[in-house]
């Protein structure tokens, strides 16, 4: 029985281009206090456009209604549990939004004099130190814009290290449970991907590792806890094996929410890792971004970090570009500063003990869900659960219902679905990460919904297969979207 939601009217809204009417404006500019320049004269006829064809023309109130109405079609953390596994959808504190908008921070120009940027540089320095302490690493760069960007940076660092040792090597080992960004990153950094199988507990198969790890191996990219939410119990041995062959250990820190305050990658053999500040450190996902993929390294990789680096000189912060071994920059300027401000605010609000408590609550919530759902959903890997739990749809598949269908039905129960069909090592995966944000009330509603769906699968699979039934837009035809891609609006005329 659905207890969490009821249907209510929401406003329809055409595309901006459909609601535009010629001459409508939603803006007013200040009067020009200098002579107006004639564009054609200044830039040349051929360089100036007549108009931006099809561009929106709406009033201010139409604009705010447009976006307000559209927003009501979205689900969000502010509305409830958002258990997307591997995405760590935790509460985004509003104070972080407030501080990131303080004028002196929001309006700082990256090229303004260092003497007038000390506040911004201090924020970055304090954050670098906090992240080094949390990860147990020696140095941190805040330049990468997201996790995948951090992975790329990290692998370039390894490559630079190995090159400095005379041979960049050929391969990177990646467990079959890894996120897609790992192999994609290895490829972009010019490495071959060697697939590392997992054992039946979801952990790295040690024999395979020993077999595959050789002098051509540049590094292992490991996610820990891995994508089935399990801590790699052999992690120190794994690291020893890699190091024994002169290879490096890269850790994908996307799941760091399981470790903050209880274990540090720097203490179990990791040489370089990234953090997703938009996951572990609560910066808003904003419908897909922005993020920040800070990279933490051990001392031996520090010389290769991207330029510029923060340097303390005569009691002032300065940007140091004089770094001969650096891989260079991976983006313009210094990083997603506005995101960094939010992450630091989160860390300050929790403090050392608070961060550990958050981790433990995250583990508690994941174990609670695993325990209560295990009777109803197949849980393939029997190892202890950390921050997320991964079920398979094996029991439901017998009735022709797959993980994707259960996900859609969950929407009718008022929840955002879990992550569907990932990791690949679990056939028909349901990957559930509640985070520490949730209280028992919300978790119990979720568990009830999942159990109730399991029953529906037995009694009335059609109901689940045709879900969702209560949304303004019901099941979307993604196949046609990909087969005949329409990725922009065109005036009716052109369509015909």
């Amino acid at each position: 029985m659905i207890r969490k939601v009821r249907p209510h009217i929401t406003q329809n809204e055409p595309l901006l281009f459909e609601s535009s009417s010629p001459g409508k404006i939603g803006y007013q500019l200040p009067d020009l206090d200098v002579p107006a320049v004639d564009p054609a004269a200044a830039l040349g006829e051929s360089n100036t456009r007549r108009e931006i064809e099809g561009f929106p023309e709406v009033s201010e109130v139409e604009a705010i209604r447009h976006f307000s109405r559209l927003s009501t079609y979205n689900y969000a953390i502010d509305l409830g549990l958002y258990p997307l596994g591997s995405c760590t959808m935790k509460y985004n504190p509003r104070v972080n939004e407030a501080v990131a908008r303080i004028e002196g921070l929001a309006w700082a120009h990256p090229y303004q004099p260092e003497s007038l940027s000390q506040g911004a540089m201090e924020v970055m320095a304090v954050l670098e130190n906090a992240l080094a302490e949390i990860t147990g690493m020696d140095a941190v760069t805040l330049q990468p814009a997201a996790g995948a960007h951090g992975e790329f940076t990290g692998i370039l660092l390894i490559r630079a290290l190995l090159e400095s040792r005379g041979n960049p090597r050929k391969n990177i080992l990646i467990p079959d449970s890894a996120h897609g960004t790992n192999p994609a990153t290895a490829h972009m950094a010019g490495y071959q991907v060697r697939n590392l199988p997992s054992n039946d507990r979801g952990m790295v198969d040690m024999e395979a590792l020993v077999r595959l790890c050789d002098e051509d191996t540049a590094a292992l990219m490991i996610t820990n806890p891995n994508t089935v939410g399990v801590f790699e119990e052999n992690i120190t041995r794994i690291a020893a094996i890699l190091h024994g062959k002169g290879a490096q250990v890269y850790m994908d820190g996307a799941n760091m929410n399981a470790l903050v305050g209880i274990a540090r990658p720097g203490d179990f053999g990791v040489d370089v890792m990234h953090l997703n500040l938009h996951k572990t450190f609560s910066t808003p996902h904003g419908g897909g971004g922005p993020g920040s993929g800070a990279v933490a390294v051990k001392g031996h990789l520090e010389p290769f970090l991207p330029v510029p680096r923060l340097l303390r000189r005569e009691g002032q912060w300065t940007w140091n570009y004089d770094r001969p071994d650096s891989i260079g920059r991976v983006r313009a300027f210094y990083g997603n500063f506005g995101v960094l401000v939010r992450a630091l605010a989160y860390i300050m609000a929790h403090g050392g003990p608070g961060l550990k408590n958050a981790t433990m609550d995250a583990l508690l919530n994941a174990n609670y869900i695993r325990t209560l759902l295990e009777p109803y959903y197949d849980h393939p890997h029997k190892a202890p659960t950390m921050h997320e739990c991964v079920f398979s749809d094996e029991m439901q598949a017998k009735r022709g219902v797959r993980t994707g269908d259960i996900a859609k039905r969950l929407i009718d129960y008022g929840f955002h679905p879990y992550t569907v069909s990932f990791p690949l090592i679990v056939h028909g995966a349901l990957m559930i990460e509640p985070t520490e944000t949730e209280g028992k009330r919300e978790l119990d509603l979720f568990v009830d919904a999942m159990i109730s769906i399991a029953k529906e699968v037995e009694e009335d699979p059609e109901l689940v297969l045709k879900a969702p039934h209560s949304t303004r837009t019901n099941r979307v035809d993604e196949v046609t979207a990909a087969r005949k891609p329409v990725v922009r609006w065109k005036p009716a005329a052109d369509e015909a």
Partner: protein, 431 residues
């Protein structure tokens, strides 16, 4: 809850971690602070940065007014606290705005298709280069020296290990635009992409058509990049380009010490399947209602893994939404008028200063040296609460002594006159 999972204490939850990996002490981070303390902390940091200065800095990050509607929209939890719209049925809000974003980017750039966003302008350049390499099966990348220096550095770092060779070609010392002869001399059948920025780093509007001719003659793609999106309100879009990439910071995205910003990639329909990153497409739901969803996922890392067009996953959605609201509020007429104001301000300033280059410019330009080191001029300007231009010696030794200055709709006449006053006074000192 502990009971129901058969745990005695929270500590039991990670008792299974090997002893040697467990972290026994407490993190050395000060105890949790109150909201009030946090706000005060960041206000203090902010006060250590510049506030209340008028600034002539551009160089890839521009000071434009942010309509309040932008924050009103992006502060709504439904946009702010949602994630990538994997589940279309409860993400139509985000999906629709991205579809509108893609459309507006096409309208602005004269391209046929666009993606949902890249990290920023600088990282959009290597993505465009790699795309060109995939399309042409070639490995040469020719990039103009008048492309933003930090974009070129990013390009170099990013494509180095994928077998691409990046070669820079010159700008014309007189006009400040690309040196067509140098470009032509470097073009051959190995070149995948010719990269040009317009307006370029010196603020000069490039002759995209000519560049396209040359590139296409030798079978290369033309990649046009931009850092000042407001210029597109006035400039003929680079229709002759094959790929357009660039930075939207000018569209209501605060400078924020360099990020987060939003990059774009747009191209011709025929290259659609080579685009990196998220793309939203139109389709229908089971009731036949128009609906939107993420599409062409087979290009992406979560499906294609090492064969993906890029490793990008999280992008800059909320920042792209800011730009979408900005484009909506200004609209067709507003964006043009805004561009005209920028043009007019910059030209007012330029008339009173020695310009290093002759080419047509939009809202920034290079001021020739006046005998005094630009750093010195800037020092004097600071005493007048003015942040001057960017000294160019750092990036262009041959232009040492010159500075890059920018004027936008927010630069008022008094500030410009004060700037000129100081510049002239310093010049006198030099003599």
């Amino acid at each position: 809850m502990l009971a129901s999972i058969g745990a005695g204490s929270l500590e039991d939850l990670f008792a299974h971690l090997p002893a040697e990996v467990r972290f026994e002490r407490t993190l050395d981070i000060p105890a949790g602070k109150s909201e009030y303390d946090i706000v005060n902390y960041f206000r203090q940091r902010a006060s250590e940065n510049a506030t209340g200065y008028s600034s002539f800095l551009g160089a890839g990050v521009y000071s434009h007014y942010r309509p309040v509607l932008v924050d009103a929209v992006v502060s709504r939890g439904e946009f702010l606290t949602s994630y990538t719209p994997y589940q279309a049925e409860i993400s139509q809000g985000t999906l629709t705005t991205i579809f509108e974003f893609q459309t507006m980017i096409c309208q602005l750039t004269g391209m046929e298709v666009a993606n949902a966003s890249m990290y920023d302008g600088s990282s959009s350049v290597p993505e465009a280069a790699l795309m060109a390499a995939r399309v042409t099966g070639r490995e040469g990348i020719l990039v103009s020296r008048a492309v933003h220096p930090e974009y070129r550095e990013t390009l170099a770092t990013s494509v180095r290990h994928q077998g691409l060779h990046v070669v820079e070609y010159a700008y014309d010392r007189d006009s400040g635009g690309i040196d067509l002869e140098d470009l032509e001399s470097k073009l051959d059948s190995t070149v995948a992409a010719v990269i040009v920025q317009s307006p370029n780093f010196f603020g000069i509007v490039e002759d995209v058509r000519k560049a396209a001719e040359l590139a296409h003659k030798s079978g290369a793609l033309l990649v046009v990049c931009f850092t000042e999106a407001v210029s597109l309100g006035l400039l003929e879009p680079p229709r002759d380009a094959d790929i357009v990439c660039g930075e939207l910071q000018s569209f209501a995205i605060s400078p924020s010490y360099g990020g987060p910003f939003a990059g774009i990639i747009a191209t011709k329909e025929k290259y659609l399947r080579q685009i990196p990153g998220r793309i939203v497409g139109e389709t229908k739901d089971a009731n036949g209602n128009r609906a939107y969803c993420l599409t062409l996922a087979t290009r992406e890392q979560h499906i294609r893994r090492e064969k993906a067009t890029s490793n990008i996953c999280t992008n800059q959605a909320l920042i792209a939404l800011m730009a979408t609201v900005f484009m909506t509020v200004y609209g067709k007429e507003g964006l043009r008028e805004l561009a005209v104001q920028n043009l007019s301000k910059a030209h007012y300033l330029a008339q009173q200063l020695p310009r290093r280059f002759k080419g047509p410019f939009f809202n920034e330009f290079v001021v020739s040296g006046n005998g005094r080191p630009p750093e010195q001029i800037n020092e004097t300007l600071l005493t007048r609460k003015i942040i001057g231009g960017l000294p160019l010696g750092r990036f262009y030794p041959e232009l040492a002594g010159g500075m890059l200055v920018c004027a936008t709709e927010m630069t008022d006449r008094q500030a410009m006159d004060a700037f000129v006053g100081v510049f002239v006074a310093e010049e006198a000192l030099a003599k």
